[in-house]
């Protein structure tokens, strides 16, 4: 018997980055109905997706991360120079 898992894993990944065709969606859904391993893979991918989204947001909102004051001074100098020239 030939399994669809290999193709399904590619489709699942693609589905996060592009719109799948109708045929691809149907094939993938049919396969997920009968394959627990691929359902787990789908769940793993979703967790990773949420995780990366969360990590980006977390750093963006973490107010303890600040521009080091030495860098701030350096940038201030650069801006002063640019505005004078």
């Amino acid at each position: 018997m030939n399994h669809f898992c290999r193709e399904a894993s590619q489709l699942q990944s693609d589905g996060l980055d592009r719109e799948l065709t109708l045929m691809e969606r149907i094939r993938l859904r049919m396969h997920l109905l009968i394959c627990g391993a691929c359902r787990n893979y789908a769940e793993n991918l979703e967790l990773l997706n949420n995780l990366f989204h969360g990590l980006r947001k977390q750093t963006e909102e973490d107010e303890s991360i600040t521009l080091p004051s030495s860098d701030k001074e350096r940038i201030k100098e650069a801006l002063k120079k640019a505005s004078e020239s």
Binding site: M1, N2, H3, F4, C5, R6, E7, S9, Q10, S13, D14, D17, R18, G36, A37, C38, N40, Y41, E43, N44, L45, L47, L48, N50, L51, F52, H53, G54, L55, R56, K57, Q58, T59, E60, E61, D62, E63, I65, T66, L67, P68, D71, K72, R74, I75, K76, A78, L79, K80, A82, S83
Partner: protein, 190 residues
């Protein structure tokens, strides 16, 4: 927004930390992030007359920064001249000849929010990403850490969208396996 408010030193005071965090969330490198703040503010100063006032200064600055970050990543990719050759294909070792999983993925019963908080997990994650082949790693980082659009990544890495999808798919497979092994307890000795 008052057009007269074009004072780069005020931008630095008011938005410097925010821009730095934004760059850090994408680049995860202190030196690069602070360079990006400087370049963004300088570009904003030069382009101040193009600021329409329809958005806030902060939104406008972030827009400039996005371009700067993309340029930076593109330059890095160029400099490293990533090999065009086909990189290792994890799908060959992860699937049997009949297309079934060699080792079936297991359910991960962890909460992404809690994982985000765990420094230990982040170290494992960074370690796993660091083990990906170079090209996979670069496009994967752009996709998932930088949150870049596919089109932008393809342009930066000079690859087709089909090639991008294959690389990202391979990276996800390898990352999943690495995390299962090192974190989610696939074969972890505890």
């Amino acid at each position: 927004m008052n057009k007269k408010a074009g004072n780069p030193e005020h931008w630095l005071t008011d938005h410097g930390d925010y821009l730095y965090r934004y760059a850090m969330s994408r680049l995860r490198n202190e030196e690069q992030a602070s360079d990006m703040v400087q370049e963004t503010l300088l570009a904003a100063w030069r382009g101040w007359d193009r600021f329409s006032g329809n958005s806030t200064v902060r939104t406008w600055l972030v827009g400039i920064m996005k371009h700067k970050i993309t340029d930076l990543v593109r330059k890095e990719i160029r400099n490293r001249k990533l090999a065009e050759a086909v990189e290792s294909d994890p799908t060959s070792s992860m699937f049997n000849a009949d297309g079934s999983w060699v080792e079936a993925p297991r359910s991960w019963k962890e909460n992404p929010e809690e994982l985000c908080e765990s420094e230990q997990f982040q170290q494992v994650l960074e370690g796993c990403i660091g083990k990906l082949p170079e090209k996979q790693q670069t496009v994967f980082r752009m996709r998932e850490l930088t949150g870049e659009e596919s089109e932008t990544i393809c342009k930066a890495a000079e690859i087709t969208s089909t090639h991008l999808h294959v690389l990202i798919h391979r990276a996800r497979l390898a990352l999943r396996t690495c995390l299962e092994f090192n974190w989610f307890g696939g074969k972890r000795q505890t």
